[in-house]
């Protein structure tokens, strides 16, 4: 029988890369670079956490038709729009939202896309449960829902079984910005964590909670990476 200590030691070491608040496009390019390095086996499984400046991103099955305001208005608000290679439709990222981008090898997680999405969702569901919030999946509509309102979105890209893009959890977002789109191409309402609790959570606290759930779900033990090194290193 394995001892508790041995089980701990058998966990895979993964790198957590906290980036703070960074413009979407910079993180987009960093993900692409880390994806290539992970494909080459030069880095371990790496999980980026970040908060973006306001931005709309459109996935492979989306279109700008789900933008509900003219581009001029977005320019005035300083909000950019990017096409991305992830799955899904249009979504919003901005301050008060925790974004998690795992750059990981799914061959060590069973080569199962559905299981991967379920684990991303479960990291949110498990974390919210610890705060006494009942959240769930909805069949056919990936993401995490509290009642009829969506609190977290998923959208992933997988090439050579290495992932990028990931998960976005609304902690305390500007809902006016969400009102400028049909999130995920649907007429749905979104909700932030801090609307559901008396005690307001910081992004840092939520991040630690989500990472703790991910360690359990993926069998990892996180070590913190130096983000500065990744921005500056010439690979």
């Amino acid at each position: 029988m394995s001892s508790w200590l041995e089980l701990v030691e058998n966990k895979l070491e993964a790198v957590h890369l906290p980036l703070g608040r960074v413009e979407y496009v910079r993180t987009y390019h960093l993900q692409a670079r880390l994806h290539e390095l992970r494909c080459q086996g030069k880095i371990a499984d790496t999980v980026i956490t970040v908060e973006h400046e306001p931005v709309f991103t459109i996935g492979r099955s989306g279109s700008a038709s789900n933008l509900l305001v003219p581009l001029k208005v977005l320019q005035h608000e300083g909000i950019s729009v990017y096409d991305t290679e992830r799955g899904g439709n249009i979504t919003y990222h901005g301050p008060g939202q925790l974004v998690v981008y795992p750059i990981i090898d799914l061959r060590s997680q069973g080569c199962d896309l559905k299981r991967y999405i379920r684990n991303l969702e479960q990291s949110v569901i498990g974390f919210l449960a610890r705060l006494g919030i009942v959240a769930e999946r909805r069949a056919g509509f990936p993401g995490v829902w509290v009642g009829s309102r969506k609190i977290a979105s998923v959208g992933v890209y997988v090439k050579r079984w290495i992932t990028r893009h990931g998960l976005a959890l609304n902690v305390d977002v500007n809902k006016c910005h969400f009102g400028m789109i049909n999130p995920c191409g649907m007429n749905i309402e979104v909700v932030s964590l801090n609307e559901l609790t008396k005690e307001k959570s910081s992004l840092a606290k939520v991040r630690e909670g989500i990472l703790s759930q991910m360690e359990q779900l993926f069998g990892w033990r996180f070590v913190e990476g130096d983000a500065q090194q990744y921005w500056e290193k010439d690979w």
């Binding site: 996935g59 492979r60 290679e85 559905k114 890209y157 090439k159 050579r160």
Partner: protein, 75 residues
């Protein structure tokens, strides 16, 4: 002719073809991305299994495909 089939993606029944990264008649290299498929808000890139020419696209953009189903042929 080499068949390019949808690989086993786990508990997935069906995907939708979202984009061909190479067109019929183009040369392809083993391991390069050939076609993007989507399921469960995930884009998955199917790679060319060998060098050759993309002779025939069987599943067009927007078509559904199941695991192990034929997507294309490489000559």
């Amino acid at each position: 002719m080499t068949e390019v089939c949808l690989p086993d993606l786990g508990e997935i029944n069906e995907v939708t073809v979202v984009d061909w990264l190479r067109q019929e008649g183009e040369t392809v290299v083993a391991g390069e991305g050939l076609v993007e498929v989507e399921t469960e808000k995930t884009t998955f890139v199917v790679e060319a299994p060998q060098d050759g020419k993309l002779a025939l696209i069987v599943k067009k953009k927007g078509d559904k495909a199941r695991i192990n189903e034929l997507l294309a042929r490489i000559s």
